[in-house]
Amino acid sequence: MRAQSTPRVLGAALVVAVMVVILSIRLNTFRDYQIAEIAIEVTAVAGLTVLTGLSGQISLGNGAFMAIGAYTTALITLHLGWPFIAVLVIAAAVTAVAGAVVGLAAARLHGPYLAGATLLVGVALPSVANAYPGTFGGDQGLNVVFTTPGFLGVNFPLTRWQAWVCSAVALVTLVLLANLSRSRVGRNWRAVRDNEVAAALAGVNVARTRILAFVVSATCAGMAGALLAIVTELVAPGAFTITLSIALLTAAVIGGLGTLPGALWGSLVIILVPTYATDVATSHGLSSSVASNIPVAAYGVVLILVMLIFPQGIQGGVRWALGLFGIPSAPARPAASVPDVTPRAGAAPASQHTVPARKGSPPESQEKEGTP
C-alpha cells in the first residue's frame, strides 16, 4: 500500500463524498441503488484486501461475515427497533468476535487449506438460517424496515439516503484502513506476510497479528452486511451464497491486491460489468435466457483478461498509466508469492575479497518449484 499522508487520504475521501452527493442527486433511483451497492462492496472488499494483500491470509468466507452482520441488523431492528447507527456498531462488534473465532481456528492454516476452510465457513454459516427458520425466517428471510430520517422531509428519496449512508460508512472505513495499514499494525502484517519466521524473530506475535487481520476484515464485512440489510430491506440466505464470497476475493484481486483504491476499482467492475452487459444484451432484443447469461459469460472473460493483462490488478495498471505521463507513484509491489527475482547473491560481491566464506544464498530457482 502506498504511504499516503493523513491529509491526502482525508482530502481524497472528501472529494469522493462530494462526488457521491452530486451524483446521487443528479442520477435516477436505479443509479442511487447502484451507488449503494458499490459502497457496500467497497466496504467488504477493502477489509478483504487488507487481510489477503497485507497479512497474506486468503479468505473465501467473508460472505459469511456479511451474513452475520446482516442477520444481526435484521434481528435487532426487528426485535429492539434501535437506530441504525447503534445497530451498525453492534453488527460490527458481533462480526469482530466471529472474525476472532475464525482467525483463531485459521491461525495455523495456509494456502489452499485456509482457502478450503474459509470457503466452507462461507457456505455453511448461511445454511444455519435454513435449519432454524423460527429465528432466522428460513428461505423467506427477515424483513428490515429502514426509513429516511425526519429532518430530510417526507419527499426525500429513500434510495438517495441509502446511497449516502452506505457511501459514508465505506469512506470512513477506507480512511481508517489507510491509517491502520500505515501504523505499526500494518507493518506487522506485512512482516508476517513476507516471512513468518523472520517476523517472529523480530518480536512480532505472529498468531495475534494474523488473528487481528481476520478481526479487521470480518468487521468490515459485517458492516457491509448491515448496509446490505438496510438497502435490500430483506435478509435471506439466498443472498449469501458461495458466489458472494468468491466475488469479494475476485474484486480484491482484480482491483489490485493490498491496495485500497484497488478495492474501489474491483467493486466497480463487479457491480457495473454485469449491469452494463445486461443493458447491451437486452437492447439487442435477445431472448431472455441468452440476455441474462451474456453478462455472466462477459464477466468471466473480463476476470480472465484483467488477470492476464494487469498482473498487479487494475491499480497496477493505473500506476503504470500514471507513470507514462510522468506522474510519480510508488512502484507496484510484487505480491508475496512472486519469486524474488533479485538475487541476494548479486549484492554480495562487494565483500568477497575479504570473505573466503562458504556459499551463502545463491539465486533461487526461477522455475516453479515442486514444493512451495
Binding site: P343, G346, A348, P349, S365
Partner: protein, 256 residues
C-alpha cells in the same frame, strides 16, 4: 549430432563432446551476473570453475543448461550453438546439470531416480533390455545403491544422495556434465569418494565435466583446467596445476 546409435547399453557412451562458452551474458533483473564469459572445455576433460560467493558460478551453469536464458553469447556443444534452448532440450542434447543440493527427487525411490536419468535418452521408447542394462551397470558401480533400490531417496545419507545423483548422470549418458557443489555438506571421506567418481566418469566414459566448487583445493586436484570467476568475469584461466601453484591468485580469489 548423435554419432553412436540410440539405446546402446550404458558403458558405451556417445562420443565425447567439447563445450565452448563464448561471450556469455546473463543475469536476473537489473543484476548482470555473467559478463562476457568465455570458457573452453575440451572433450572428456574436467574444468573446475572457482570463485567467491556471488562470482557467477551457479549462474554460469544455469545459463549453460537453459535454466537461465542468456542475454547474449553462445553455448557451443561440439560446435553447434544451443544458447537459449530450454532445459529439456539441453538435457536431450546431452547436457546434464546437477543443481546444488537438490539433485535427487527425495519422494521417489532410488530406482525411480535412476530411471529419471533415462528421460533424456534419444528416441521415444528405449528397449527394455537397454534400460535394464543401464540400471545394472549403475548398481554394479554403486553397490550401496543396489541395496537400497526400493527405498525412498529421502532416507539416504548426504553422501549416498550425491552417489545417486552421479549414478543417474551415468544412466543418462550425457556428453557434458555440469556439477554444482557436489562436495557441499559432505564429510571429508565421503567427499573423496564422490570426487573419485567424478574423475572415473570423466576418464572412463569420456564425459566432459564442468565442476563448480567452493573447495578450490579439491577441485583443482582433480581438474584438467581451472577457471576463476570474479563479479561475473573470467579473471584467470589456466591448467589446474598452474592455478594451484599461483599463490597470489589463491590468496586473492580462492581463499586457500
Amino acid at each position: 549430432m548423435m554419432t553412436s546409435p540410440a539405446g546402446v547399453p550404458g558403458a558405451q557412451q556417445r562420443d565425447a563432446a567439447s563445450l565452448v562458452i563464448e561471450d556469455l551474458v546473463a543475469g536476473y533483473g537489473e543484476v548482470r551476473a555473467l559478463d562476457k564469459v568465455t570458457i573452453v572445455a575440451g572433450a572428456a576433460s574436467i574444468t573446475a570453475v572457482l570463485g567467491a560467493n556471488g562470482a557467477g558460478k551457479t549462474t554460469l551453469l544455469r545459463a549453460i543448461s537453459g535454466m537461465v536464458r542468456p542475454r547474449s553469447g553462445r553455448v557451443l556443444l561440439d560446435g553447434a550453438d544451443r544458447a537459449g534452448r530450454s532445459p529439456e532440450d539441453m538435457a536431450r542434447a546431452g547436457i546434464a546439470h546437477v543443481p546444488e543440493g537438490q539433485g535427487v527427487i527425495a519422494e521417489l525411490t532410488v530406482e525411480e531416480n535412476l530411471r529419471i536419468g533415462m528421460m533424456s535418452w534419444p528416441g521415444i521408447a528405449p528397449r527394455r533390455a537397454d534400460r535394464a542394462a543401464a540400471l545394472a551397470e549403475a548398481y554394479e558401480r554403486f553397490t550401496v545403491l543396489a541395496d537400497r533400490r526400493r527405498k525412498i531417496a529421502a532416507t539416504l545419507s548426504g553422501g549416498e544422495r550425491q552417489m545417486l545423483v552421479i549414478a543417474r548422470a551415468l544412466v543418462a549418458r550425457p556428453r557434458v556434465l555440469l556439477l554444482d557443489e557436489p562436495s557441499l555438506g559432505l564429510a571429508p571421506r565421503v567427499m573423496t569418494q564422490v570426487m573419485d567418481m567424478v574423475v572415473r566418469l570423466s576418464r572412463e566414459s569420456g564425459i566432459t565435466t564442468v565442476l563448480v566448487e567452493q573447495n578450490a583445493r579439491v577441485a583443482l586436484a582433480i581438474a584438467d583446467r581451472g577457471v576463476v570467476l570474479n563479479l561475473g568475469r573470467v579473471v584467470a584461466e589456466a591448467p589446474a596445476g598452474e592455478l594451484a601453484a599461483d599463490v597470489a591468485l589463491r590468496h586473492h580469489y580462492l581463499g586457500f
